[in-house]
C-alpha cells in the first residue's frame, strides 16, 4: 500500500535530476561558496586590502593625535559641540541596520530571496556598528575615563546617569552589536562546519573546527537550532527598531530647536533602513561581479532591494515634509527659525544635497529600466549614502550653529583631522569587509540549500516554492498510509 507512495520518492535518478536548478546543486553550491575562501586570493584582493589598511591607519593616526592633544584638533567649538563625530556615528549606526533587518525581519516575513544576501548584509552590519562605535569612544574629552559610561561605580563611586539618552545609547548600541554578532555567528555555524569538513590544511581544520563547535547537522541540532534562530530573529526585530529610536532620542529629548522633534524616532528608523539598503547595494553589486555570484544574487534581488530603497526614500521624504509643516504650524518662534535656517541658512547647500539625494534621485527607481540597470542602481545607492550623511550633518551641526540666543551663534569648519578620521574609518570598514570575504562564507549555504527545489514542476521564476512545505505534504501522505 505504501509502495506507490514510496515509489517516486525512491527513484534516485529523478531526485538527482530534480535537485539541479539552473546548473545549481548542493555540491556545486558548496564548491562555489567555500571555494571563494579556499582558492588562492584573486589578483585584485591584495591591492584592495593594502589600500584599505593604509586608509584605516589614517584613522588610527588621527585618533592618536586627537587623544594626545585634545578635542580642539577637530573643528568643533561653542556652540557646535558635536559635528563630524556624531554625524558619522549616526551614519554608521544607520547603515548597521540593513543586515539585521534583512536577516531578522525578512526571515520572519518568510522572504526566501533574503538567503542569498543576509550573511553579507549581517557582516556589513557588524562592521558598520564597529565603525560607529569608534566615534562615541574617541569623541569624549578624556578617553581614558570613557569607562565611566559603563554601568559600574566610577572612580568616585558614582554610578552613571541612567536618565541620559547618551547612556541609553551605550546600552542600545552595545546590545545591538552583541545580538547582531550572535545572530551572525549562529547563522554561520553550519557553514563553518562545511569549511571544517572540506579543510585540507591543519590550521584551517583547527580554526574552522573550533569555530564550528563540532556541528554535525543532526536532526536534533537542527531542531533546537531553528527555534533558536527564530527566537533570535524575533528578538532582533524590535531591537533593530529600538536602536535607531534611541539614537534619535539623543536629539529628540533635547531642548534645541531642530533636535527637539517628536517625529524623530520613526524618521530615523526609516532613514536607517534606507541608508542600510543603499550600502548593501553599493557593496553587493561589485561583490557579485567580482565573485561571479550573479546566479545567487540575481537581478531579482537587486530589483527587490531597489523597491525597498524607493519605499524608504518616500518615508524619509514624508518626514522631511512633515518637519517643515510642523515647524510652520507650531507658530513657535524658535522652531520656525530653526527650519528657515535649515532651508536658507549657512548650511542650505547641505540641505539641498540631502533632499536631492534622498528624495529626488531615488524617484527614478519607479522606472523598471532604472531598477534593471546595475549601474544606475550602483550610482543611486551611492548618492543615497551621501544624502543620508548630509541629513545627519544638517540636523546635528545646522541646529547647533543657531539656537536660542543669537549672541552665541557660531559656525563649524572641519579641520584636516576631522576629514582624515572620517576617511580612515571608511578604510577600516572596507578592511573588515575584505577580511570577511576572504575567510568566511559570504552566502548562507545551508539556508540557500534549504530553498533549492527538488522537482522540475517546482520551477517558478527561477525560484522554488517552499521546499519544506513540499516535503511536509509528502510526509502527511506517508502518515495517512
Amino acid at each position: 500500500m505504501n509502495q506507490p507512495i514510496v515509489e517516486p520518492l525512491l527513484d534516485g535518478q529523478q531526485d538527482r535530476h530534480s535537485r539541479v536548478l539552473e546548473g545549481q546543486d548542493y555540491h556545486r553550491l558548496t564548491e562555489q561558496i567555500c571555494g571563494i575562501v579556499e582558492r588562492p586570493v584573486p589578483r585584485w584582493w591584495w591591492p584592495a586590502f593594502l589600500t584599505s589598511l593604509t586608509t584605516a591607519s589614517g584613522a588610527l593616526f588621527a585618533a592618536a593625535y586627537l587623544i594626545s592633544t585634545g578635542v580642539g584638533v577637530w573643528g568643533e567649538n561653542q556652540p557646535v559641540g558635536w559635528a563630524f563625530d556624531i554625524t558619522n556615528f549616526v551614519f554608521w549606526v544607520g547603515i548597521g541596520h540593513a543586515g539585521t533587518l534583512i536577516s531578522a525581519i525578512l526571515f520572519l516575513l518568510r522572504q526566501k530571496w533574503r538567503t542569498s544576501i543576509n550573511r553579507f548584509a549581517e557582516a556589513m552590519t557588524l562592521f558598520a556598528v564597529a565603525c560607529a562605535g569608534v566615534y562615541p569612544l574617541i569623541h569624549v574629552g578624556r578617553v581614558w575615563m570613557a569607562w565611566f559610561l559603563a554601568p559600574v561605580p566610577n572612580a568616585n563611586a558614582i554610578w552613571p546617569n541612567f536618565r541620559s539618552p547618551l547612556l541609553w545609547d551605550v546600552f542600545a548600541v552595545s546590545t545591538y552589536a552583541t545580538v547582531s554578532l550572535l545572530f551572525w555567528y549562529v547563522g554561520m555555524i553550519p557553514d563553518l562546519a562545511s569549511l571544517r569538513d572540506r579543510a585540507v590544511t591543519r590550521p584551517r581544520q583547527v580554526i574552522y573546527g573550533i569555530l564550528a563547535l563540532g556541528w554535525r547537522g543532526s536532526g536534533q541540532h537542527w531542531h533546537h537550532y531553528e527555534i533558536a534562530y527564530l527566537l533570535l530573529a524575533g528578538l532582533a526585530t524590535p531591537l533593530v527598531v529600538s536602536v535607531h529610536t534611541i539614537v534619535s532620542f539623543d536629539f529628540a529629548t533635547s531642548v534645541i530647536p531642530g533636535w527637539h522633534t517628536t517625529i524623530f524616532p520613526p524618521y530615523f528608523v526609516a532613514g536607517a533602513i534606507f541608508s542600510g539598503f543603499a550600502m548593501v547595494l553599493t557593496l553587493m553589486i561589485p561583490a557579485r561581479e567580482l565573485f561571479g555570484l550573479k546566479d545567487l544574487v540575481t537581478d531579482q534581488h537587486l530589483d527587490k532591494m531597489a523597491k525597498v530603497l524607493l519605499a524608504t526614500s518616500l518615508m524619509v521624504g514624508y518626514a522631511y515634509g512633515v518637519e517643515l509643516f510642523t515647524a510652520w504650524y507650531s507658530v513657535n518662534l524658535y522652531e520656525r527659525f530653526a527650519f528657515q535656517n535649515r532651508l536658507f541658512g549657512p548650511l542650505a547647500w547641505g540641505y539641498a544635497i540631502m533632499v536631492l539625494c534622498n528624495v529626488a534621485f531615488p524617484q527614478l527607481l519607479w522606472l523598471q529600466r532604472v531598477r534593471g540597470s546595475v549601474w544606475a542602481l550602483f550610482v543611486i545607492s551611492i548618492l543615497v549614502n551621501v544624502g543620508m550623511w548630509f541629513e545627519r550633518f544638517v540636523i546635528i551641526v545646522g541646529s547647533l550653529e543657531r539656537d536660542f540666543l543669537p549672541s552665541s551663534w557660531g559656525q563649524f569648519i572641519p579641520t584636516w583631522v576631522d576629514l582624515l578620521q572620517m576617511v580612515g574609518v571608511f578604510g577600516l570598514f572596507s578592511t573588515l569587509m575584505l577580511l570577511f570575504l576572504r575567510f568566511l562564507p559570504m552566502v548562507a549555504l545551508s539556508e540557500v540549500k534549504a530553498t533549492l527545489p527538488t522537482r522540475p514542476s517546482d520551477f517558478k521564476a527561477g525560484y522554488a516554492v517552499d521546499e519544506r512545505e513540499h516535503v511536509a505534504s509528502r510526509v502527511k501522505e506517508v502518515r495517512v498510509s
Binding site: 578624556r142 572612580a155 541620559s164 529629548t253 533635547s254
Partner: protein, 1035 residues
C-alpha cells in the same frame, strides 16, 4: 612685608642674580638653598631665622609668623622679613590665618588720578583685586583694568634685570654710575637734567620734586600722558581764570547732557560715576526720580549705550552742537536783560561764528528746555579729549543753570610748574638735555608722531629709563631699570579730586625692582631713599596727623575727607566770548568726500599700557565685541559709501601719515567719521602684546591729537581675520533683552509679575531642600556693559585665556559673557547689553543629558559641574539653551597658547609665576573637561563656614543678606548684579524677584532659571522722541 630693596643694595641685587638664573626665577627651594652665595646672604641678613630655615625644623605657624603676609615666594620672602608693619584690612583682629585670604588696601596709579583697591592675598600671594569700599572713588567696585592688574604683577615678560645699552648690568653698577653722575649735576645746579614721568598724582613724588627744585633748581620735570587731561584743566582755566578741577555729583543730576564724554566708560572716575549714575536708574529702590541722559558722540561708547537719547555727530561737530546749545540756553535765560550784558555779547559772538552744520532741530530746542526745567539739578559734561572751548562753555552753562555746587564741584589743587613732552622734545632738539630720566612713561610708543621722540631721544647723552617692561623706550635708552610693580613697593596717591590713599607693598619685589620714589630720591640726594619714610613724611606734610592716623590710613587705604577744598568761582564771560571769536575757523564740513578720523582710548588697553595683559586682550570690547585687535570703526553708511566690509584692511592717510588698519563696521558710529582705538600695535610690549592690532599713534600728531578731518581711505584688497566673539547683533524678534519706557513701566499692572517664570512643570520636581536657595538678579537697567565682571570672574575662578586663534574658532572660556544687541534702525540703533552666565536652571537640561552624573544639582539650587566626573561628551553644552558652558578643547593651562596644536610635543607645565596668581580655592581645569559659572561656590562655602563658626556649632545659623558676594557682583560698579538667598523673604533678591520687570531669560522653556533679569527702563523725553520720529519719517 618687605622694605624696599635699596635698604641694603648689595644684598638685594645679589638676590635676584642668584635667584634669577634659568627660565623662571627659580626652580626649587633646594636648588636655591644650595647656592652658596644665597646661604651666605641669608646668614648675613637674618642669622637667627636663617639658621632656623637651614635647620629645616620650622613649624608652619612659626613660618607664617616669620613670613607675615609675604609667604608668596615659596618661603623665600619669608626670610626677607618685613621691617615695617603694613596693616591687613580685616574686621577680625589682624592676623594671617593659613588657608584664609587676607586683604590689604592699596592704590593703583592712573593718569592724573588713582584707583583705590583691596588686594586679596593667599599666604602672601596677591591673587585677586577688589575695590576699596571705604574710598569714594571705588565704594567696593572696580573697573576692568583694576581687576586685571594682578596679572601684570606675575607677567613673566616683566623687566628682570638692570640693563646698560642692552647688556645685563646690576644695581650696584647703576648706583655707582648715579653717584658720580649726580655729583656732576649738582655742580651745574641740575643744568641739563630732565625728568619725564607719567602724570602720577603722588604727594610723595611732589615732595621729592620740591626738594629737587631746591637742590637742583635748573632741573626740569616733564609729564606725558597719551590720554591726558590738559583740555580739562585749560577749559576750567578759560572758564574761571584759574585751574580748577571739576568733579561731578551724578546722584544729584536729573538731566545729564554728555558731549563726547564716556564718563561711564574709559574716563577717569568711571567707577564712582557709574555708581552715582546707577543710583538714579534704580526705578524702585531710590525715591529720587529717574535721571535722563542725553549723549552726543561720534563713536558708540558705554555711556552712549546707557543714553535715553543719543545723537551721532562727527567729533569735529561736537563744538558746533555746544555752541548751538549755549546760544539757545543763554538767549532763553537772559532774554529779559538788555543787549549789553555779557551773555548776549557771547550769544552775538556765537551767532557771528555761525553754525552752518544742520543739527537736528529738536536736539537743541528740547534739550535746552529739559535743562532749563532742571536748573540746579542738571549737568553738562564735556569729554576729556574735547577742545578747551567746549569745556569752557560747559562750565559756563553749568554755572548759568545753577549747577555749580550741586552737580558740579570745583576743587582747587596745589599748582605746580610742570612742563610738557612737547617742551621736552624742543629742548632735546636744542641739545639742552644732558641727562633724561624717564619714569615709567613710554613716549617712544605713544608720543605724537610729529615729535619723532625716538629719534630725538638718541641725541641725549645720558638716558635712564625706569620701567615695568623692557619696552619701546628702553630700547633707545642707555640705562633700563626694572621698576617695582605697585604691589611691590611703598608710595601714595591722590585721586583726581585729591582724596589721599596709600600704596603698600604686598609682596617682595619678584625681580628686585625699585620704585620711582627711590630713584628720584637717590638722584636728588633726598635725606632718605627709603620710600616708606618718604611716604611717612609726605603723609605728615599733607595731614599733620600722628602715627596712629597713619596706621588707620594704611588700614583703610584712604584718608577720609582729604579731597581738595571746594571753591566757588564765577565764569569769565569776556574770556569765553574772546575764545569763541578767536576759536579756529571751522574746517570744511565733514561729509562723503571729507571723512574724519578720531582717536579714543581703548576700553581695555586704554593707551597701550596694558597691552601685555592677556585678560584684557581677550576681554571682548563691549561694543565691537573684538578681542586681540583694534580696528577702524565705520558706520554702515560710510562702509556702503566706500564699499568696505568688516575685515577689509584699509589704508588710512591723515596729513601725509599712513596706517593700515582692518575695518569694523559698527552701527551707531557717526556717518563719515572713522574712529580708531589707541593702545594696540605695540612692538615691545611682551609675548602677549607684541604685534597685536595696529598702532594709531603713527597718525596722531600734536596738531591732530584727538581727531583730524580729511582722512584718505583706501582699500588694500587684503583682509584681516578679526576675532569677534559675537557675530549676530539682532535679537531676531525674540524678547531676550526686555525694555520699556518709564511711563510704560509705571502704567504696568503689578499683577503680571514675571508670569512665565512659574510655568507649570509636567511632574513634581525633586525637592531642593537646602537651608539656602541661592539665586541672582541682574538689573539690565543699571548694567552698562563695562565688562569688569568678565575679568573679575576670570581672576577669581582661574579661567585661562585661549588666544586669538581659539577665539576665532569660538572657544573663549569666559564664564560670564556680555551679550550686545542692537535695537531699532540699522544705522542709528540703540544698544542693549545683557550679561549671561550659567543661570542655574532648577530643571537643568544640561544635567539630564550628562551620562556620567558630572552635571548635577545641589540641594541649595546650584547647578554643579563636577570636574573629576566629567569625561567631556559636550552633550551638556549642546543642550544648554543659554550656551554658557565652556569646554577645555586643549590644555590651556598647561601648554603655551602658540603650541596648542603641537600636542605632546609642546612644552608642558604652567610657569610658576602664573601659578602664584591662581586662586587656591578653585580647581584649575584640565583639557577635556566642561566648566561654567558656579555662583562662586567657593565664596558661598566660605561664607557658610564663617556663619557656622559664629553660630558656634548650633545648627540654626543664618547668613546676613549680602555677606556672600560672587566675584562679578562684587566688581560691578553699577551694582547691577544682586546675589542672595531666595528662601529669606527679606533678602534683596527675594524682593527684586517680585518686581513686575523681573523676567526669566527663555523662561518659556520651563528651565526655571535661578538667575533672572530686570527689564530695562528708559526715560526718553517725549517731545524730543516725537521730533526724532518726524525726522526719521522725513529721512
Amino acid at each position: 612685608m618687605n622694605h624696599c630693596p635699596s635698604h641694603q643694595p648689595p644684598k638685594v641685587s645679589a638676590l635676584p642674580t642668584a635667584v634669577l638664573v634659568g627660565k623662571e626665577y627659580w626652580r626649587s627651594l633646594d636648588e636655591l638653598f644650595d647656592k652658596p652665595e644665597y646661604r651666605e646672604w641669608l646668614e648675613r641678613e637674618f642669622p637667627n631665622q636663617a639658621s632656623e630655615w637651614l635647620g629645616g625644623t620650622v613649624s608652619r605657624r612659626r613660618a607664617l609668623q616669620l613670613m607675615a603676609a609675604s609667604l608668596g615666594l615659596a618661603g623665600l620672602a619669608g626670610c626677607r622679613r618685613p621691617d615695617y608693619p603694613i596693616l591687613p584690612y580685616t574686621k577680625t583682629p589682624e592676623s594671617v590665618l593659613p588657608g584664609l585670604p587676607t586683604s590689604y588696601a592699596t592704590t593703583i596709579h592712573r593718569p592724573g588720578s588713582a584707583f583705590p583697591v583691596l588686594v586679596e592675598t593667599q599666604e602672601g600671594r596677591p591673587t585677586k583685586i577688589e575695590g576699596n569700599p571705604l574710598h569714594p572713588w571705588s565704594q567696593g567696585a572696580t573697573d576692568l583694568q583694576a581687576q586685571a592688574a594682578v596679572l601684570d604683577l606675575y607677567d613673566p615678560d616683566r623687566s628682570r634685570e638692570v640693563m646698560l645699552t642692552g647688556q645685563p648690568s646690576t644695581w650696584q653698577a647703576f648706583d655707582a654710575f648715579a653717584e658720580t653722575h649726580i655729583s656732576g649735576l649738582f655742580e651745574r645746579r641740575g643744568q641739563g637734567l630732565h625728568f619725564l614721568s607719567e602724570d602720577v598724582s603722588s604727594p610723595a613724588l611732589r615732595l621729592l620734586r620740591e626738594h629737587l627744585r631746591q637742590v637742583l633748581p635748573e632741573a626740569v620735570w616733564h609729564v606725558h600722558e597719551a590720554m591726558g587731561s590738559e583740555n580739562v584743566d585749560h577749559g576750567a582755566a578759560l572758564a574761571f581764570g584759574k585751574p580748577l578741577t571739576p568733579t561731578y555729583r551724578f546722584q544729584n543730576a536729573d538731566v545729564i547732557v554728555s558731549l563726547g564724554s564716556d564718563f561711564l566708560g574709559v574716563e577717569d572716575g568711571a567707577v564712582a560715576n557709574t555708581r552715582a549714575f546707577a543710583e538714579r536708574r534704580k526705578v524702585e529702590d531710590s525715591l529720587a526720580p529717574m535721571n535722563r541722559l542725553y549723549v552726543v558722540e561720534n563713536h558708540p561708547t558705554t555711556t552712549g549705550g546707557m543714553a535715553d537719547h543719543r545723537l551721532r555727530l562727527p567729533a569735529s561737530q561736537l563744538q558746533e552742537y555746544m555752541l548751538a546749545l549755549a546760544r539757545e540756553l543763554l538767549s532763553r535765560t537772559r532774554q529779559d536783560q538788555g543787549s549789553d550784558n555779557p551773555s548776549s555779547k557771547l550769544v552775538k559772538s556765537i551767532v557771528g561764528v555761525g553754525s552752518p552744520v544742520p543739527l537736528p532741530s529738536g536736539w537743541v530746542r528740547e534739550v535746552a528746555t529739559d535743562l532749563l526745567a532742571a536748573r540746579g539739578r542738571s549737568l553738562i559734561l564735556a569729554g576729556q579729549q574735547q577742545p578747551t572751548l567746549v569745556h569752557g562753555l560747559a562750565h559756563l552753562l553749568n554755572a548759568e543753570l545753577g549747577n555749580l555746587g550741586n552737580t558740579v564741584l570745583l576743587r582747587e589743587r596745589p599748582e605746580e610748574r610742570i612742563k610738557s613732552l612737547g617742551e621736552l622734545t624742543e629742548s632735546m632738539r636744542r641739545g639742552e638735555v644732558g641727562t633724561l630720566v624717564v619714569l615709567g612713561s613710554n613716549p617712544v610708543y605713544d608720543a605724537p608722531s610729529d615729535l619723532e621722540f625716538g629719534v630725538v631721544l638718541k641725541r641725549v647723552p645720558h638716558t635712564i629709563q625706569l620701567g615695568l617692561y623692557p619696552d619701546e623706550t628702553s630700547a633707545v635708552c642707555a640705562w633700563h631699570l626694572p621698576m617695582a610693580h605697585f604691589f611691590e613697593c611703598w608710595g601714595d596717591a591722590e585721586t583726581a579730586d585729591g582724596t589721599y590713599s596709600p600704596v603698600q607693598p604686598l609682596i617682595a619685589p619678584l625681580f628686585g625692582g625699585r620704585s620711582a620714589l627711590e630713584i628720584v630720591a637717590r638722584l636728588c640726594r633726598y635725606e632718605t631713599t627709603e620710600p616708606y619714610e618718604i611716604v611717612q613724611s609726605s603723609f605728615r606734610r599733607r595731614t599733620d596727623l600722628g602715627m596712629e592716623a597713619f596706621r588707620q590710613f594704611l588700614h583703610d587705604g584712604v584718608l577720609h575727607d582729604s579731597a581738595w577744598p571746594i571753591v566757588n568761582a564765577a565764569p569769565d564771560w569776556a574770556a569765553l566770548t574772546r575764545a569763541v571769536e578767536e576759536g579756529e575757523k571751522r574746517t570744511a564740513d565733514v561729509g562723503p568726500n571729507n571723512l574724519e578720523l578720531s582717536f579714543h582710548a581703548d576700553r581695555r588697553l586704554f593707551d597701550g599700557r596694558f597691552a601685555n595683559n592677556g585678560w584684557l586682550q581677550e576681554t571682548p570690547d563691549p561694543l565691537t565685541k573684538l578681542t586681540w585687535d583694534n580696528a577702524a570703526i565705520l558706520s554702515p553708511a560710510t562702509a556702503r559709501l566706500s564699499g568696505v566690509t568688516t575685515g577689509d584692511v584699509l589704508e588710512l592717510n591723515l596729513a601725509g601719515r599712513t596706517l593700515q588698519a582692518p575695518a569694523c563696521v559698527l552701527p551707531g558710529q557717526a556717518d563719515y567719521s572713522i574712529s580708531l582705538p589707541l593702545g594696540f600695535g605695540r612692538t615691545r610690549a611682551g609675548r602677549v602684546g607684541n604685534g597685536v592690532g595696529c598702532n594709531p599713534y603713527r597718525l596722531r600728531t600734536t596738531a591732530l591729537l584727538n581727531m583730524g578731518v580729511g582722512v584718505q581711505l583706501r582699500k588694500t584688497g587684503r583682509t584681516h581675520r578679526l576675532a569677534c566673539t559675537q557675530d549676530h547683533g539682532s535679537m531676531q524678534g525674540r524678547d531676550l533683552v526686555r525694555s520699556l519706557t518709564l511711563q510704560e513701566y509705571r502704567d504696568l499692572p503689578a499683577a503680571q509679575a514675571s508670569a512665565e517664570s512659574n510655568s507649570l512643570p509636567l511632574y513634581n520636581p525633586a525637592a531642593l531642600d537646602g537651608q539656602h536657595q541661592w539665586c541672582m538678579v541682574i538689573d539690565l537697567n543699571q548694567f552698562t556693559g563695562c565688562s569688569a565682571c568678565v575679568v573679575a570672574c576670570q581672576s577669581e575662578n582661574n579661567i585661562p585665556i585661549v588666544g586669538k586663534d581659539e577665539v576665532l574658532r569660538g572657544r573663549e572660556m569666559h564664564w560670564i559673557r556680555v551679550d550686545r544687541y542692537f535695537t531699532g534702525s540699522a544705522d542709528d540703533p540703540g544698544v542693549a547689553h545683557q550679561p549671561v552666565a550659567c543661570v542655574h536652571c532648577e530643571n537643568a537640561p544640561c544635567e539630564t543629558v550628562c551620562p556620567v552624573n558630572a552635571a548635577v544639582h545641589s540641594p541649595e539650587g546650584l547647578n554643579l559641574q563636577v570636574y573629576n566626573r566629567c569625561i567631556g561628551t559636550r552633550y551638556c553644552a549642546n543642550n544648554c539653551p543659554y550656551k554658557v558652558r565652556h569646554f577645555n578643547w586643549f590644555d590651556y593651562n598647561q601648554r603655551p597658547l602658540d603650541q596648542l596644536l603641537a600636542g605632546p610635543l609642546a612644552e608642558k607645565g604652567m610657569p610658576e609665576l602664573l601659578q602664584m596668581q591662581k586662586n587656591p580655592d578653585v580647581t584649575v581645569r584640565m583639557r577635556g573637561v566642561m566648566e561654567k559659572c558656579t555662583y562662586c561656590v567657593q565664596r558661598i562655602e566660605r561664607g557658610k563656614t564663617g556663619a557656622r563658626l559664629e553660630a558656634a556649632g548650633s545648627a540654626a545659623y543664618s547668613i546676613p543678606d549680602g555677606t556672600i558676594v560672587p566675584a562679578c557682583a562684587q566688581a560691578c560698579p553699577a551694582q547691577a548684579i544682586i546675589f542672595g538667598d531666595l528662601s529669606d523673604p527679606n533678602s534683596r533678591v527675594a524682593q527684586a524677584k517680585h518686581r513686575t520687570r523681573n523676567y526669566d531669560l527663555l523662561g518659556e522653556l520651563g528651565t526655571r532659571p535661578r538667575t533672572s533679569y530686570q527689564g530695562r527702563v528708559r526715560n526718553p523725553n517725549p517731545r524730543l522722541a516725537a521730533t526724532e520720529l518726524v525726522e526719521e519719517e522725513d529721512g
